[in-house]
Each structure stands twice: as structure tokens, then as C-alpha cells.
Symmetry: C2
Subunit: 200 residues, 2 copies
Amino acid sequence: MSENRLAAQLRFIVEADRLKTVLRRTWLTDGSRRENSAEHSWHLALMAVLLSDHAPAGSDLSRVVRMLLVHDVVEIDAGDTFAYDAGANRDRAAREQAAADRLFGLLPPDQAVELRSLWDEFEAGETPDARFALALDRLQPLLQNVHSDGGTWRTHGVTREQVLERMRPIEAVSAEVWRYVEGVIDRVWAVGWLRDTQDP
Amino acid sequence: MSENRLAAQLRFIVEADRLKTVLRRTWLTDGSRRENSAEHSWHLALMAVLLSDHAPAGSDLSRVVRMLLVHDVVEIDAGDTFAYDAGANRDRAAREQAAADRLFGLLPPDQAVELRSLWDEFEAGETPDARFALALDRLQPLLQNVHSDGGTWRTHGVTREQVLERMRPIEAVSAEVWRYVEGVIDRVWAVGWLRDTQDP
């Protein structure tokens, strides 16, 4: 194996360290600070292992885990875009494509292709692996918000309808997890952590 | 599937969030703050995927990744123990066993057994999967230290011999990565980031 191959892999690994400085809107459950995208990615990969009972037919757990490990890497260049910020979401795709070109381009060609295609597949959200990964990426911030007194929902005045809409990818993969999610949304709405759609 | 099973899994997932607040001695490469054990675990799992060329014969990448995702979870209760702190390392095993009992005990029994045995296997460090995981767990802080002006090596006055000894698990899995590590240690020693063993 060539030393150049190892050097390219280590360059990417060192660059990946920067994902730890990309902050999401979500709070840690102890309310001490916002979550970063690297620790979020770890949490999702762990969730995939634990909730594999709920993966759709045809999905491959080890691919889902690899997909989740790289799903946010583009944020090193493109930053995290808040789900409920329509403005920032307009140019998100273009920023993230450029980031994917540069970042995955650091890798040896075969690995650049493999990881880029995992990321493309996640973004398209159509295969069983991507649908499961996407569902987990929606469920995790819901858990964080529930366990940090409403978190970003309250800070940003998010409505019940917006959360239900955002969580739909969960409904598409697991009836049981969806029942849990609906129950949570009912409870947090009842205590006033979500705005009603009728509010001004 | 029972709602109780899902409830147990979600309890563990929410508890796991606390690993994001466990600080290691290692610094981020931008020097902005110390690294936490959750983002460290993500970094190692990503490294396993990228450096799988160097995994020893008989190892299974998807098991190594799962092992790395849970290898530090016990630190939620037991805290991170600095590698070069002999005193704190004396009761580390007992603290971590108690933590493993409580934390993995939150899970449904089959998953408690699966994850606990992955963690036990990592700690024993004897199987091909565990040896690869351990080598990555040594390589990652070396990369962090090199790219943060010597990081913990300089802060804690670590010697060249201590680092060489600490990195031995890498030598056991890959001659090529070991050559890289030796080269790095030579260079950082030459610039004075590591103390000489002869120093007072």
C-alpha cells in the first residue's frame, strides 16, 4: 500500500476534526450548551445499532452506520442549516455540493467515491438505508428537545404542525416509533412547548 | 415488539447524551477547547471505516465500528481517566465495571449482553477487532496532539518513551501506520514537544 494513500486518509481524518466545532441549534439534555455535528453523528450511529429492529426491509445496518458517520461532514465547509429556517435552506444544496466536492476529494479516489455516494444516497433519502438514517436524524433532535424543556422548539416558536411535518420520515419506517413520536408531540403541545398553528 | 423494549432503548439513548459532557485531556486541533468522549468516539468510528486497509486479518469492520461507538460509554459514570495518570488508573477498572453494569443494564437484555460483551472485548484487547479498535484509540490522540502544537504532551510534560510505549498497539496491527507514527514521534521530539527520558 502506498504511503500516499495513508497520507490522504490521515489528511481527511484531521480535517474531520473540524466537524466538532460546527454547532447545531439543538441543546444537550443538561442544557449546558448546543450540540455539535460530530457528537450528533455519534449519537445517530449508536441509535442505528440500538433501533435496528425498526429498520425497513432491505436495509443493511453497517451501511446505515457508515452513512450516518459521514452524513454531516459537508457541514465543515457549509455549516449547519437550521431545519426551520426557510431562507438559509434555499442555497443549502449548492453550498453542500461544493463542500462535498472538496472534502471527499481529499480521500484516495476509491474512498472518495464510496463516501460521496453514501452521502448522496442519504441526501436523496430514497433507499431503505437512507430512509432509516433520515428517520433517526429526525428522532434524535426530538429526544433532545423533549429532555431539554422544549429546547429549540420553544426558543424558535416552532409549531405543532411544523414538528409533525418534520417527523414524517419516522412514520415512513416504523409504526411503533411513530406512535411514540405522536404521543410525545401531544404531550409537549399540551404543556405549551409548541405553538399552535393558529397562533399569530 | 413491545413498547417496553422501545422505551428501554430510548432511555439508554437519552442517557448516552451525557457522554458529550465528559471531557478528555486531548484538545481539538484548532485549540479552542478539550475534546469530549462522544465526538472522540465518532472520530474513531470514522477512522475505522477509512483505515480498514490496516485492520488485522480476521477482523470485521462493522463489529469494530459498533465496538468503537460504545467503547467509552462507561465514562458517563466513571469519567475519563488520563492515560498518563498512574494514580487515577489504579481504580479505573472497578469504577468502569460498576458503570458498565448500570448503563448497559438500562437496555433490553439481549442488547445489554451484546453491547457489554463488545465493551468487555475492547477492554481485554485481544481479538483482531479489539486490537484494531485499540490501535485507532491510540492513533487519534496522536493526530490531535500533532495538530494542536503538541497538545497534552507539552501541557503534561510527557516523555518520548511514554508516547512510544502508549502507541505500541499500533505497531501490533500495521507496519505502515507504525512507520508513520515513529516518524511523527521523531519530528515532534526534535522540535521539543516531548521531554527526553533523561530530563529531571
